[in-house]
């Protein structure tokens, strides 16, 4: 028996004839925290929703998503079987805390419900006790009173804690987080991130963490996958990918996120062009219409080049390992490495 918790193979998501996610492959091991980054439109949220089996109506996933301890494939599983997995083996924290909770139900009952659905608590009373305990764990002051309050009585950050409490309630093997802090005030983001990571660590839950914020990935994750145009274009350990990106897109993304660097005109670095609408990426390498290094060869699809057990990229013109930052780029301030935030910072 391996310690792989989640195994995704050849995952494709399509609407009508248009592919929104293409041939995504990855595994997540027990307790591992994997980041999935990319701009909006890259297909990262759809990947997460396919794992949950919660794709919007009209979208179809194919391929295979296996979860350790579940004897059926999650792709194409019927609602009855999926409902036994969701909230128990896999749980999810959503992007929008303001709308993710039922406005007409007390918060405590919404947490207790997930315990009662999966019969992890025998009755309402014990589920309620557990709910209060969970509220305490996610750091809400006066958890007993909080359990009797309605969502509108909480701030965004507090609501996200409630959503997290629901997700953590049944000690899931995998916690999927879809931009959990994007909608929050900057001041509360760090605290909520910390709670998510600690909650997952306490339960030895693996984590699939979706974000467009590189700093957050660096804080939270051990490994990162970079998505663009519905494909994973590069993956590897966070430190490696962020300090020595190989794919031209990853390089651009990191360049754009480094606010200490400006170009010859004193402007912040951006990736030229904009993300095409979903399903309208160029054939071959999806990034070639925005890539300065693209050649005719890029009109065919580049193969995956493995560089380690969990790392690799798919690019015909990778950044060579010895490459220094491109000329014409000027650093402002201290000489920091490309990683925006210290990886250890959030994990203590």
């Amino acid at each position: 028996m391996t310690d792989d918790v989640l195994t995704v193979r050849d995952l494709n998501v399509a609407v009508g004839g248009r592919k929104l996610v293409e041939d995504v492959d990855f595994t997540i091991r027990a307790g591992e925290r994997v980041g999935l980054i990319g701009e909006s439109g890259s297909g990262k949220s759809l990947t997460a929703l396919s794992v949950m089996g919660l794709l919007p109506e009209g979208l179809r996933a194919t391929g295979s998503v296996r979860l350790a301890g579940v004897d059926h494939d999650l792709v194409g599983a019927d609602e009855t079987r999926m409902s036994r997995v969701r909230g128990k083996e896999i749980a999810m924290v959503f992007q929008e805390p303001m709308t993710a909770l039922n406005p007409t139900m007390k918060v405590g009952r919404q947490i207790a419900e997930v315990l009662l659905i999966h019969r992890t608590r025998p009755d309402r009373a014990s589920a309620r006790t557990a709910a209060v305990e969970l509220l305490a764990q996610v750091g809400l002051p006066d958890p007993a009173a909080a359990a009797d309050a309605y969502p509108h009585q909480f701030s965004g950050g507090q609501r996200q804690r409630v959503v997290l409490a629901i997700a953590l309630a049944n000690d899931p093997a995998l916690l999927v987080c879809d931009e959990p802090t994007t909608a929050l005030d900057v001041t509360v983001q760090a605290r909520v991130l910390d709670l998510i990571v600690r909650g997952a660590q306490d339960r030895r839950s693996a984590m699939l963490f979706i974000t467009h914020d590189l700093a957050v990935v660096a804080t939270v994750c051990e490994r990162v996958m970079v998505m663009y145009g519905g494909r994973v274009v590069e993956s590897g350990p966070v430190r490696e990918v962020f300090t020595r990106p190989r794919h031209r897109y990853t390089q651009g993304l990191i360049g754009a996120s480094d606010l200490t660097v400006v170009d010859d005109h004193g402007r912040l670095i951006t990736i030229g062009g904009s993300v095409p609408p979903a399903g309208h990426f160029p054939a071959g390498c999806v990034f070639r219409n925005r890539c300065a290094s693209a050649t005719e060869r890029c009109a065919t699809r580049p193969d995956w080049v493995p560089t380690g057990p969990d790392s690799g990229y798919s690019c015909f013109h990778p950044v060579s390992e010895s490459d220094v930052p491109e000329s014409g780029v000027h650093k402002i301030g201290a000489n920091e490495p490309g990683v925006p935030t210290n990886q250890e910072a959030g994990l203590g």
Binding site: V85, A100, N102, P103, V114, I117, H118, Y150, I166
Partner: protein, 316 residues
Amino acid sequence: MIVRLVQRIAILLASLVVSSVLVFAFMAVLPGDPARVVLGTSASDAAVAQLRGEFGLDRPLVTQYLSWVHGLVTFDPGNSYISHTPIGPQIADRLQVTLWLVGTGMVVACILAIPLGIVMAVRHRRPSGLVLSALSQVGVAVPAFLAGILMITVFAVEFGWLPANGWTPPIEDPVLFLKQLALPALSLGLVQGAVLTRYVRSAVLDVLREDYLRTARAKGLRPTQALLRHGLRNAAVPVVTVLALQLATLLVGSVVIERVFVIPGLGSLLLDSVSNRDLVVVQDVVMLIAMAVLLVNFLVDIVYLLIDPRLRVGAS
């Protein structure tokens, strides 16, 4: 909560006062001389003067208005201009009949619309949902009296299963009462149900798109369970409101339906009074219907406060 309650009560009272003034103005002031309207242009001056004296129409308008309102509030609205008999018992009698009709119609509409609307919303992209949706559109376009006529044609004339018209109080003959109630209540209910179905569908569709329903499914609830446990309470808010608004439509619909099925309800009383130029009865019935509608709107606002916790504590 208390502040809002007081606010709602104030709005209700103000609405009642304003609408009664309006009705009074239209029915008793604008015609110039109600007694002349009632008796017609050919009536002798003596007869007109006598009617004026009998009903106090020669008093100042404010006094007339106040005594009318006093009559309404004390459930003793005085006598008819024409038959000179007390209006109160007559209205109470007719109101009972109409309430049966409207109540049953409402029940039929709900039984029809709530499950159908939910099914239509859940299956809104599948053929079955689209067909139901198209059918409901057709239902909305059929006026209740047309449905009534068609039902008489089919169930009374063609098959002879049910009586085409008439009314028997339930105490006299419960079976006949039900038979006679069936077609008019169905006509009212089917048409109202078609309208209501579209509101239910729309409300449920709105709820289906809500993030918290996705959260509910992420917890491990099946789609139907998620909708039942988390969706319906939220979808109920707009539906309850529409139900209440439909009371006005149902009351008016029953005016027409009572004519189609020859039922001695409030609507028939209203229509007869118009033909007889019995202005005071018209005035009372119109005011009664308006009062009922305003009162139900008020009750809905209160129910709203109970359903939606966000409204209970000030603005969120």
